[in-house]
Amino acid sequence: MQTVAVIDYGMGNLHSVSKALEHVGAGRVLVTSDAQVIREADRVVFPGVGAIRDCMAEIRRLGFDQLVREVSQDRPFLGICVGMQALMDRSEENGGVECIGQFPGSVRFFGKGQVEDGEALKVPHMGWNEVAQTVKHPLWHNIPDMARFYFVHSYYVEAGNPKQVVGRGHYGNDFAAALADGSRFAVQFHPEKSHTHGLQLLQNFAAWDGRW
């Protein structure tokens, strides 16, 4: 049976991610902070919630920045929410934080007091929003274009390479809802909290050979 490692660096609740992966029959799901277990896993999931400075501090302390660079190259790898943001070059949250740099681009604040169509935009961007599938990708299999996924974030990814944006979201401005490059895929929304479409994406991830 294949193994899926969910990287645990002590930030937040990994219960939902691991339960959702088990629910779709992704294989043996290991929530772990053991570098060896992560290196040996067939697939790796890199979640994250909370403040990026705290996340990056823990990631570096555990040496996971280097580990993520390694294991995101040669097997299916999925970053979720702050996990996606940590894969960028840098974030402007917490006064500016250098991140892992697996995708070119940066993480920006939505900004307070934005108004769109006469409505004040609340931050965090919280709830179900549409994702435009800008490019075909195995992880979009069986998911309709413009399907709604559950988001909760105050900062968004501005991709440095537009070709890597495979899903586009919009909230006041366009942002990268999903990025892909080789065996790496990253989503701003929470597939584990996005009902049928989210579970489908996780199932697609579990079946993906990592090629794109």
Partner: protein
């Protein structure tokens, strides 16, 4: 592309059982919160709120166990509130699978707790629950106060200022319970819902007194809420979540 307004069924849970029976079409009353949450999930509810009203200390373990079971089977966001007083309470609930934790009375008596919680766990998972009632007489400039103990005890705190303070301390969302002056089932107090929604930059969930689908739509359109929470209209099978969504959509509200 627009963010959908959310519909959130709320379950009152005592010692691992839903307090009032819940009735779905063709399904008899069920008291298991996990079973009920699954039904709402299937109906297309956008989130579930689990309000723990267990009085006993021993009951806390039952709550954690129930949350854990629910989070293993329901793949939409889950907020848990009721009796949250310490950082350890929050940690335990998040570890059991809650996505957000709602702080109510503890915020009133110790506002710094909200700040501490947001620092530790991130604003995205800290909801502050506010019970507000109108205290101004008819004809006066409207003023609303925070109440505790199920709406019985006034605190002297202005509800709008309080909501802003909670935002400043790091709350990620406000769960505002209000009732129109007439009392039960006459809808939200749209005045306070709108006053708070327009003065904070974080999402506001409107709750309290929902008796029909117009109340839900009014909470969004007039009250400017980002989400509406209701219990009894869904529990007793008066309306289903899809009916509520279809009605809201007919009034021009974006729903999932």
């Amino acid at each position: 592309m627009a963010l959908a307004k959310r519909i959130i069924p709320c379950l009152d849970v005592d010692n691992g059982r839903v307090v009032k029976g819940v009735k779905f079409e063709n399904i008899r009353d069920a008291g298991d919160p996990v079973e009920i949450a699954r039904r709402y999930d299937e109906q297309g509810a956008d989130e579930i709120t689990f309000l723990d009203i267990t009085a006993s200390v021993d009951g806390r373990d039952t709550t954690l166990h129930t949350v854990e079971r629910m989070a293993s089977q329901v793949f939409i966001p889950l907020t848990v509130g009721g009796g949250v007083r310490t950082v350890m309470d929050i940690r335990n609930l998040l570890n059991a699978g809650a996505d957000k934790v709602s702080i109510n009375t503890a915020a009133v008596f110790n506002p710094e707790f909200v700040g501490e919680a947001a620092q530790r766990f991130g604003s995205q998972c800290i909801v502050v629950a506010i019970d507000a009632k109108r205290v101004s007489a008819p004809g006066e400039t409207p003023r609303w106060e925070i109440f505790t103990h199920g709406g019985r005890k006034p605190t002297g705190l202005d509800a709008v200022l309080w909501a802003k303070k909670m935002e400043d301390l790091g709350a990620g969302e406000i769960l505002l319970t209000s009732m129109d002056q007439d009392g039960m089932k006459s809808g939200f107090d749209l005045g306070v819902t709108r006053a708070i929604s327009e003065s904070v930059g974080i999402p506001v969930i409107a709750s309290g007194g929902v008796g029909n689908l117009d109340h839900l739509a009014d909470g969004i359109i007039e009250g400017k809420a980002a989400a509406v929470l209701a219990a009894s209209i869904f529990h007793f099978g008066e309306y289903t979540v899809p009916e509520a969504k279809a009605y809201m959509a007919s009034r021009g509200i974006v729903v999932r």
